[in-house]
Amino acid sequence: MGESNLSKSYMQSLIEDLRTSKLYTDLQNAAQAEISKPTIRLSEIKKGVQTGLTNSGWDRKLRNAIFNFLQTHPKVPYPVPPPEHVKEPLQFLRKAQLQWEKRILKSLNSMCTELNIPLARRRPDKEQKEMLQKWTELGIEGPDLSQIRPVYAPKDFLEVILGLQNPNYRTSDTAGFFAMWGIVQVPLKVKSIDELRLQYSDMAINQCQSGIDDFVDIPQELFDMERVKLGRKVIAANHGPIAQEFSKKGCPTSLREHLWRQILCIELDEVDVLYYEQLKVNVLQHDLLVDSLLYKDVKLTATNDDQYFVFEDFLYQVLLPFSRDTHVLKHFSQNSATPPRSYIRGKLGVDEFMVLYPPNGVIPFHGFAMYVAPLCYLYKETITLYYVFREIYIRFFYRLHSISSHPQGIVALSLLFENLLQTHEPELFFHLKSVGCQPLKVAFKWLVRAFSGYLSSDQVLLLWDRVLAYNSLEILPVLAVAIFSFRKTNLMKVQSYNAAEAVLADLTTLQVIPLIQLSLFSK
């Protein structure tokens, strides 16, 4: 990976992280085992142990653990900034996120008051038993949801983002040298089309890709076979960076689940199984208001979706334990968001009685379940499904619903979408804008959901291949622009927002990879 210029403090935290991991003890035990082998020579004990560990695959595991750390921990500049700067360096965005969180919490609390239900309550034993019995079919008789409303939807969130203004920066000044037609007011640096072309050069038109739907063509068939063959070798190497490199051209369907696990460094053992079981127990013990929100969300989205309805029950088995999972809290050190706090009744503001609510710190919004739904095509074991989702969430998806200046955050992605569309399709942008249809108003929900539920299932997976492989969400706005380009002829005819939305309502027939290729590389 050529990361030679890692700072000393970064190395320290890496070592610290490794030392506290299970891998550390496992490695120690494995080293012990090597030492006690009769073949080991006392004079060359270090070398012998090292070779032994390499031969038995431990060195791969260590490399993967380091890869995982590098992927999930941004390099910290020197001198080390204060923690709130790591979360979000721009003060006005920190403030805006805080305000937004307050609003969410307020609306949650008022729902409690209105419906006269607590944020959390202990389930009586009998109820726990019943729930345990129908754990795999929670969809059948869920709680009464008639009064439950999603706390917010992407369009509410968009309003907030549109209201963001940097107080030290007057937009009117810039109008002269670079007129922005879009509605995102925050000046952030986003990539240019040339930078994106470079970043996604493996997707260039002359590079064959997996999963381009061209079954009859013999060369494609041959190519697919070759891809599978190579993919098997990649999997056998069991090394995250290799899997990631390979996936840049898309994963063959039959290898995807394995490649993704390697990229995400997910290797499950008994501890993980026990951990999930414990989360399940926590679900059984307490009934949280967020459970109802999650239920409601599944019912509003996946249950009614002809691609995902069969997986309804899996979604509960993932989402409910997820809300109890305090491991998720870890990602808040990089997230501009902060887990909501709540106080035991009557102890408002007293720190000892403060709890994070929900335990994982994530309040679901309308469409949240769709982050899990496509994964159900890949993992039929709930446990694997759970851990893969959790990892994808804390690496990527949290950025799609919190306010930050991060290049992968939703604000920058929205801006990137507007910039690209304006440079790429000025005529189209101008037309839409002049009939009262700001493109982002249509595209925002696609971005927030990473297109899940909008594209057909196979296409979402092909898209997410690229998210994981390039370790970046920037492909989302690129695709959004490509879709506008592709439907340009019809969009140029619309005279209203509703008409534009109608043209873009059904994306299930799209083949995303050729679209992205066209849009990125053909002009």
């Binding site: 795999t136 079919e137 059948i140 079954f215 009859v216 068939e221 599978v228 063959p252 369907t253 039959s254 995807r256 689940e257 249950t303 009614n304 979706d305 002809d306 691609q307 309805f309 069969v310 997986f311 309804e312 029950d313 899996f314 095509y377 890949l378 993992y379 039929k380 057909s456 299932s457 196979d458 997976l461």
Partner: protein, 428 residues
């Protein structure tokens, strides 16, 4: 999107159609083509008839003669394939005949099971085979069986059986049947219940695939790509207590629709593409390809089983609804073939799919741009196949055998076969 249709309207006299069914997917297709509605008693070119009308038209005493520019949507004696008891009878006979010929296809394993042609659940007719059934039942008394009235559809009259006492009424020597010979109303088939169906999300489903036949001799058949899986709304549960719960066991839309958990947005229907994506992702490509190849294999052989017996009237074509259950070993079982698969649309994507189905059927049976003529060679141009793939064309297969190109004859879902089976071109 539907550029293949209606080319005829300006250049030729507009086609006259008749139909017994006031289904919008049919009417919309006819209207888009600019066809003119006429009564079934008039000179129609294209008649989408129900099976009752077919019986009348082809009955001996009717004396009706079809002309060369008339096309109709059923074969006269399609019941040989589409009535539950007759289908089973014909498949059994087909296997026996192959066995007598010494065909490799009729190869059996050490238990006497057909290796290549064991694709329908073991089935008996009641009351005719009552004694045979009892013998079989006693061999495996813990098996569940499914009773289905021969003449009914949409799940009506179906029930599960796990005790002989439930069948008193159908035993040969029972009083009720001794004096009156059974009519087709009281005849049943009883089949081994597939109690290990493949479950997805814990639920049972079956496949509905559409197969178009334009000729039985030589056999010419097409498989529609946009088939779907129909899911039960309730978790599958093989326990005895649930034997009466038809929401668990029957996947018929007409049954599931009555359940509390029926969802009108998707109607419990999942596309074959999604099924394929799921299976390939979770189980791998080889087994998934094998499954889909086997499904095609079974369809072709079910058609071959009746190809000698169907009256191969050249005015006829037929679009069958195949019902297939996949078990948890990924083996497909042919359950039933429907002569008039439902054209009612339960959801909007259902409507689109069925519209395409009818559109593509018409383009294959009446080549666009040409007047209907039953003497044509029935080799539609590739661009007129729409969402259909050639499943098998006996004529082309034979030509290719002669010209030494065994690969070309059958186009598969995915074009690949596993080596353990004779390749499609050698299907006889």
């Amino acid at each position: 999107m539907y550029q293949n249709q209606g080319l005829t309207s300006s250049r030729m006299a507009r086609l006259k159609y008749a139909t017994d069914m006031d289904k919008s997917v049919l009417m919309n297709n006819f209207e888009t083509r600019g066809w003119v509605p006429v009564s079934p008693d008039d000179d129609w070119n294209f008649y989408w008839a129900n099976v009752q009308s077919i019986r009348n038209i082809f009955s001996v005493d009717c004396g009706y003669r079809l002309t060369d520019d008339q096309v109709i949507n059923h074969f006269p004696n399609h019941v040989e394939l589409t009535r539950k008891d007759l289908m089973v009878k014909n498949i059994k006979r087909y296997r026996k005949d192959l066995d007598k010929e010494g065909s490799l296809l009729a190869e059996k394993d050490e238990n006497g099971r057909y290796i290549h042609l064991d694709f329908i659940p073991q089935t008996f007719m009641l009351p005719a085979d009552y004694n045979l059934f009892v013998e079989e039942f006693r061999k495996n008394p813990n098996t569940t069986w499914i009773m289905k009235p021969c003449g009914k559809a949409r799940g009506i009259g179906i029930f599960l059986v796990n005790k002989l006492s439930q069948l008193k009424k159908w035993s040969r020597d029972s009083k009720t049947n001794n004096f009156t010979p059974p009519t087709s109303k009281d005849t049943y088939v009883i089949s081994k219940y597939i109690d290990n169906p493949l479950l997805i999300g814990g639920k049972k489903f079956d496949l509905r695939l559409y197969v178009l036949v334009t000729s039985f001799r030589p056999l010419k058949c097409y498989l529609f790509r946009l088939g779907f899986a129909r899911f039960c709304t309730v978790k599958y549960n093989a326990s005895i207590n649930e034997l009466d719960n038809m929401f668990v066991h029957l996947t018929n839309v007409s049954i599931q629709k009555q359940g509390d958990d029926y969802n009108a947005v998707h109607g419990g229907k999942w596309t074959v593409q999604n099924l394929r994506l799921f299976l390939e992702s979770t189980r791998g490509k080889e087994v998934t390809d094998k499954l889909f190849d086997e499904i095609q294999w079974e369809i072709v052989h079910s058609l071959k089983a009746v190809s000698g017996i169907i009256s191969n009237d050249r005015h006829c074509f037929e679009c069958y609804g195949y019902d297939i259950i996949i078990d948890d070993n990924l083996k497909p079982w042919l359950i039933e073939v429907n002569a008039s698969p439902s054209l009612t649309s339960t959801t909007s994507s259902d409507r689109i799919m069925k519209y395409k189905l009818i559109n593509d059927v018409i383009n294959i049976v009446i080549p666009p741009g040409q007047p209907p003529d039953v003497r044509w060679n029935r080799v539609p141009a590739k661009e007129h196949l729409g969402n259909f793939d050639v499943l098998y064309d006996e004529e082309l297969a034979q030509q290719d055998m002669v010209s030494g190109d065994p690969k070309k004859a059958g186009t598969m879902f995915r074009g690949k076969r596993d080596g353990s089976r004779p390749s499609p071109a050698t299907w006889k």
